[in-house]
Symmetry: C2
Subunit: 129 residues, 2 copies
Amino acid sequence: MSEAWLNKVNWSGDGLVAAIAQDAASGRVLMVAWMDREALKHTVLSGEAVYWSRSRKKLWKKGEESGHVQKVREIRLDCDGDAVLLQIEQQGGIACHTGRASCFFSRLENDQWVEVDAVIKNPDDIYKK
Amino acid sequence: MSEAWLNKVNWSGDGLVAAIAQDAASGRVLMVAWMDREALKHTVLSGEAVYWSRSRKKLWKKGEESGHVQKVREIRLDCDGDAVLLQIEQQGGIACHTGRASCFFSRLENDQWVEVDAVIKNPDDIYKK
């Protein structure tokens, strides 16, 4: 495919773009991660979210271990080109490595972060060694 | 106020955290920007979104010029602490400096970014000199 669209992304100095995954059905924001050029290209070609792991310094196919694959229904780019928004279908209903639906499970209440969302599945049962 | 909650944020090397603004009513993701410690503190104290402008290198009270203030209804932190999610009420219904509701107005269609959302108000009428 032509890669002109990839050149329109305003890659950071590290070659990354912020990627927000939003549940296409509920509208819930599930996670924020990063993509490099290859990750975004693979995401588009496969129709499933691929990120760049800054900690592991490698491509990270979401769900490769957990099975919690993200089917991508739409991709948007923001006005200054440094963030993409994915509308996704979250397989298993769990996006977070803690076993919760969303990574945003801590809410600020009276100067404290309070974990307000339930763990759906024990991470030990998700990431079997 | 105690600032212990601010210490739980996983500030980047630049002292920033990614901040996503989501419309509290519609669930639409409106923009992604950055906050430093002062910006997040001011946001909580004032109940209105304050960001850190990486280009201008200063605090940026959203709506200070445009009037498009963001009233903050909820703040969440993600599992690794490097992103916050704001549920906001967008004054004027316009978050983007282009005069659109959301900064995510370009959708990927057949290897092209297509501007799919209408301009609600001409930026020349928003940012009067």
